[in-house]
Amino acid sequence: MITLEHIGKTITEPNGTARVLFEDLSFALVEPGSSVAVLGRSGSGKTTLLRILAGLDTRFEGTHRYHGAALSRRYEDMARHRRDHIGFITQHYDLLGDRSVLSNVLMGARGRRSAERRRASEYLELVGLTGFERKRPSVLSGGEAQRVAIARALVSEPAVILADEPTGALDEDTEEAVLTLFRTLQDRGCQLVIVTHSERVARHCDAQLLLTDRALTPLPTPR
């Protein structure tokens, strides 16, 4: 369903030196409702890989396909691709403090206003934040903020969820709640790609890939 073929990417470090990040990297996530965890040390390119999958980074060599069709590198085309198919959960929640939880979730919605509000409320209920609609992000805990960010990514009902360290700042109980939520989404047919440092999170995914030596290597599934 979503594939990367022969990806090559070089970045320029702040000191001016070039560094090859990916070389002939390939990736495929085919089965509906499947999930994959991408592990790797800091600086190995996990977030960049996720940005390429989201179409936020189009400066690479190789081919990015969705349902077999190669995606254009044009910004507008990739933005449409994200709007239509991708839900992206950022590492730092990225909530706007000057508006309510509901308004933050509505930023990800499309369509008629009343229907959007209803769906946003549904997803807030799904992430366990019923009654939080009017609250400001500044009064939320880290786990609550993360769940608002998840609700925002889900409200457009994407086929693929890309999550960058979604539980990095959460305690174990909250992490468990988020992982349970992800399992619920998978049961609904969503595909998940989760970038994480946590082996515990990785174990909840159907497959684990290690980003090392500029390419992805499958890890044996522990469960």
């Binding site: 960049t48 936020l56 994200r82």
Partner: protein, 444 residues
Amino acid sequence: MREILYDIRRNGALILLRILIVALALVSTVTTVSFTESTTGTLDSQFSARAENNLAQLIDTYYDDPDAFLAIRNNPEAMAQVSGFYDALTRSTALTPLSMFDQAVPVQEFRGDDRFDHTFGTDLDVVGRYADAVTGTTLMNVKSMQMSRQAFEFYGLTASAGEAISWAEVDYASGMVPVLLGSDYQGVYAVGDTLRGDLYGNVLDLTVSGFLPPESAVYYRGEINTFLRDRIVMPYPETLVQPGEDTAAVELTPKYQSFLGILTFAMINTDLAFPLETTTDELLAELTRIGQQTGFTQHALIGVPLYLTQFALVRQIVVDNLALVSAVQVLMLIAALVAAVFISYHVHRRRLPRVRILEVLGAPTRALIRERQCASAAEYTLTLALFGLGVSLSPALGIRAALIGIGALIVWFLLDIGVQRWFLLRALDLGPRSATDTPQRGSA
């Protein structure tokens, strides 16, 4: 609309600051342009001719001999020589007589207030209206300035309302004289009104041809700018002797003869403008030639040494300050532009988190740009309103300057939209594509 309200709530103070900076910068610019145009116009219309000439003063030599003065005024042949002398002066190519005199004019049933009284603004007590002892009519001695056509044109005087003086219609013999009124007379008299006045005992019907602009001024008796805004400007006759006319044969009533005598001497006691390159000797030679030709030699020349010095000084101060004001204005405009761009960048930075989220959510660039354009349109509409208010309160604003200001605001608006678009596209990393780039925020 909702997002604009969010934006105003978040960035309202900065946006308001930018509106104030842009509006004030443009109001200031428009005022300066207006001032510059007005000053340049004045320099061109009045100061140029004045700057290219020097002045001397011509007087008759009867001032210390009243008996001789009375005798010549009662002698038609001698007066014909004096008149001929004046007319010869006006025909001379070496000099220009600038006849002027500020004889007050008693006006019957005068409509104006005391500020037009000839004593108003002087050390004398204001006389105001009084009853004529003979006729019983109410009179007021109002400020006036009688002047020749040469003086009128030399000082670049024009009519801002109504029509300029028709010199051919000036007829002291019939008592019909067209006049221009100073700008303070607007609302007191109208074009076409007639004032019944009296000059040297000769009753005249003074018909209002028009009004002078407020800044109209002449050099008179050592005063660089003698303003005419509260005066009646009465034209002297263009000539005192008609070509070929034997004035000695014209029958004159004693009263009119007396009037004509005073008028003629008032006219020959005149400033003479002459080119800077003309020496005093050459000027004297020309006066001697005219005197010998006409038979009137009872005149003398007095220099007006201060005129050129004062005038050149004033002119230079105006020119220097004009350049200074323009330079300060340009610097202010640049400072305002820099401040506005700085604020634009700051506001952009404050909007960036939302842009990043929308980017991740797949918002189309067009929508983001359009959203900013709408916010800018609202902001600049408010700026235009503030600019309009500012210029409406600005004194002596020129229409051209106001149009320039509106044009500048439109250009500023388009530039700002361009700059904000550039900031936005740069933030979205919409540069040329290659497989190499610098690491993204928190990436790699």
